[in-house]
């Protein structure tokens, strides 16, 4: 059974249809890249997978391990193993990163019927994960993402991913706002999490992220539909030709 199956998914946001029949099947352990021009519906797809309120699926199904998740709240989906790395991670002043990480991890464990981690166990795991991502543990005492640079916020997303050990990782433009060094740290962090039991959907505008996180399959999303699917060489092709060929009217423009 595939890890994720998206079938004829139509999604409306504020009364406007953004996704117009997306079909996508991601097998266990596979990494799929979703590329496409601005406004094609990439972020909408990531939000609807994570269950953001206001993103209404009007038609179709999203199956995780064969189970329809569209009726579930975001926290239930997270406990089932879905993780969205945000394009713009939010700042939460007053909630210390440590508290946030611990609350999230234990909430998920509790929901899955696992025992909660003790403080020393938790600290050990966080410190190790933070070290690998070159995150100063002092930063974890601050409010979530408060005073973090763009790159630090992205690293913090991957830290959360490493701690929560999700089964399906959705990375929404994780490369945006990263310089080359930070891109390397973040991609290494993601690559360490690749495993036969974990699938990834990597949403990106540019090919450069895919030099680091090499996908098994590349899809092109345009105007709310997947219009082309291929191997990793498709990304290189797109880098050369651009998205204009998929954009109908835009393609006809000079």
């Amino acid at each position: 059974m595939p890890m994720l199956e998206v079938k004829n998914l139509h999604v409306t946001v504020d009364g406007r249809e953004i996704l117009k029949g997306v079909d996508l099947t991601v097998g266990k352990g596979e990494v799929h890249a979703i590329m496409g021009p601005n406004g094609s519906g990439k972020s909408t797809l990531s939000y609807v997978l994570a269950g953001k309120p206001g993103y209404e699926a009007t038609e179709g199904q999203v199956l995780l391990d064969g189970e329809d998740i569209l009726g579930m709240q975001s926290d239930e989906r997270a406990a089932k193993g879905i993780f969205l790395a945000f394009q713009y991670p939010l700042e939460i002043p007053g909630v210390a990163t440590m508290t946030f990480l611990r609350t999230a991890l234990n909430a998920q464990r509790k929901k899955r019927g696992e025992v909660e981690l003790s403080t020393p166990e938790f600290l050990k795991i966080v410190r190790e994960a933070a070290r690998r991502l070159e995150i100063d543990t002092d930063m974890l005492r601050r409010g979530v993402n408060v005073g973090f640079s763009g790159g630090e916020k992205k690293r913090n997303e991957i830290l959360q991913m490493a701690l929560l050990q999700p089964r399906l990782c959705v990375l929404d433009e994780t490369d945006s706002g990263l310089d080359i060094d930070a891109l390397k740290i973040v991609s290494d962090g993601v690559n360490r999490l690749r495993s036969p039991d974990r699938s990834m959907v990597v949403i990106t505008h540019y090919q450069r992220l895919l030099d680091h996180i090499v996908p098994d399959v590349v899809h092109v999303l345009s105007a709310g539909r997947i219009v082309k699917t291929g191997g990793k060489e498709l990304a290189l092709e797109l880098e050369a030709t651009g998205y204009a060929q998929f954009q109908g009217e835009a393609a006809a423009a000079p």
Partner: protein
């Protein structure tokens, strides 16, 4: 001029007049105090209970709220005193010197008066009024005169007891003083307490006031505070209680030069609470921080009204108020900053924020600035809104259930104001109360 319009006295006003006529012979104080009471009652009688046409009371119409006056509380019986033993527990396990007032009367048996640190004196207002006391004579009703305040006048007329605290020049009182006000009578009563705190030059003290009251009580409490030059005072007032309480509190403080006042008001419920604060900055270089947090549900109503009067220049004042409003509760903030003509280089800022957890809750903010100096920095801000949906989604997307996500965000919201409390133990105890309140909401 218009002809004097006299409104018809309400039942409550008539009952208060009758109560004063009976009580005045027994209330503590010599002839001078009696004259003070008589004059104060005259002022109250002319003004009546404040109502919505009085701008400062626009949102808290006391005349409509107090339908009938409760009888004035008598001295506490043994049962009342026994119930008062656990009063003030919201402060947690911080080590503080408890000074206990039950039903408005000082109870030495429940108070800790042993081994007062040098320079600290604590005594009963009733005793001081009866015996005559130079500190009281010099300050009572004079610290920040509030002639237009009917409830302060009523307090002066009917004050029965309270604390007199004096901290001598240069003295540092290490152990916080906890004034425990408990109204624990079985029948609902009116309680009038009046306290006076004089902190001399360079002295340092932390004062915590907690107010607990049993069902149906009406509390009118007032505190006058004189803060000398270079003194450092922390003042924390905690009000908690049921939905049928009426609690009116007035803080009047004058502050000298290069001093520091760190004031915090924590309101956990209560039927109708009015906290009015009148601060006058008399000397240069002083910092006054006034903060507060309220957590309300049902039909609870808390009105925080502040006037901060910058008489001298080079002072800083900061106001940070946060209200979390659930059910049909209502949070009112009225903050007025007055900068006098010669108070140059004043730096005054106030911020009030309300978090509405239900569609029926209401927040009213009224910031006012009156600036007569030309070289000042003054600012104010007010926000009200629901919980940030995007932040909630971010937390939930990490597996945190909705109620827990909301609780984290509420804690963060009030945390900003509570952070202003310098005592870590008390800060933690109050954050703990926020958690308890949130758990009560979930059930």
């Amino acid at each position: 001029m218009n002809a004097e319009v006299r409104t018809i006295k309400t039942n409550a006003e008539q009952a208060l007049a009758a109560a004063f006529a009976v009580a005045k012979a027994k209330l503590p104080g010599d002839r001078k105090v009696a004259a003070l009471r008589e004059a104060a009652f005259g002022r109250f009688d002319a003004l009546g209970l404040p109502h919505r046409r009085v701008e400062e009371w626009k949102y808290t119409d006391l005349r409509a709220i107090i339908r009938e006056a409760r009888p004035i509380a008598g001295p506490p019986d043994a049962a009342s005193m026994a119930r008062a033993k656990t009063a003030g527990s919201l402060i947690g396990d911080m080590d503080a010197r408890r000074i206990v007032f039950v039903n408005g009367t000082f109870v030495p048996e429940l108070s800790d008066l042993v081994g007062l640190s040098p320079g600290l004196s604590v005594r009963s207002m009733a005793q001081a009024l009866a015996a005559g006391d130079p500190l009281v004579e010099a300050n009572l009703g004079k610290v920040v005169p509030a002639e237009r305040e009917g409830v302060v006048a009523l307090n002066t007329a009917l004050m029965c007891d309270g604390a007199i605290i004096h901290v001598a020049k240069g003295a540092t009182v290490e152990r916080p003083i906890h004034l425990v006000f408990a109204a624990t009578g079985q029948t609902p009563a009116s309680v009038f307490t009046r306290s006076l705190v004089v902190i001399e030059q360079g002295a340092r003290v932390m004062l915590v006031e907690s107010h607990d009251a049993a069902a149906g009580h009406h509390v009118n409490t007032a505190l006058e505070m004189v803060v000398g030059d270079n003194a450092h005072v922390d003042h924390i007032k905690i009000t908690a209680g049921l939905s049928d309480l009426i609690h009116v509190s007035s803080l009047m403080a004058s502050i000298g030069a290069n001093a520091r006042l760190n004031d915090f008001a924590f309101n956990l419920g209560g039927g109708v609470v009015r906290n009015q604060t009148f601060i006058r900055l008399d000397g240069e270089g002083t910092h006054a921080g006034l903060r507060g947090a309220s957590l309300l549900k049902d039909k609870q109503h808390v009105d925080s009204t502040l006037v901060i009067d910058h008489k001298a220049g080079l002072c800083q004042s900061r106001e940070v108020f946060a209200a979390v409003l659930d059910g049909e509760s209502r949070g009112v903030f009225q903050g007025k900053i007055v900068v006098h003509q010669h108070a140059q280089k004043t730096d005054a800022r106030m911020m009030t924020r309300a978090l509405l957890l239900s569609d029926e809750a209401e927040a009213d903010h009224k910031p006012e600035l009156e600036i007569f100096a030309d070289d000042v920095q003054c600012g104010h801000g007010a926000t009200s809104g629901a919980l940030n949906k995007d932040l909630k989604f971010y937390l939930m997307a990490r597996g945190i259930p909705e109620k827990e996500a909301e609780a984290l965000l509420v804690q963060a919201f009030v945390g900003e104001a509570i952070e202003g409390i310098e005592h870590a133990g008390l800060r933690d105890a109050l954050m703990g109360q926020v958690v308890v309140w949130l758990q009560g909401r979930e059930d």
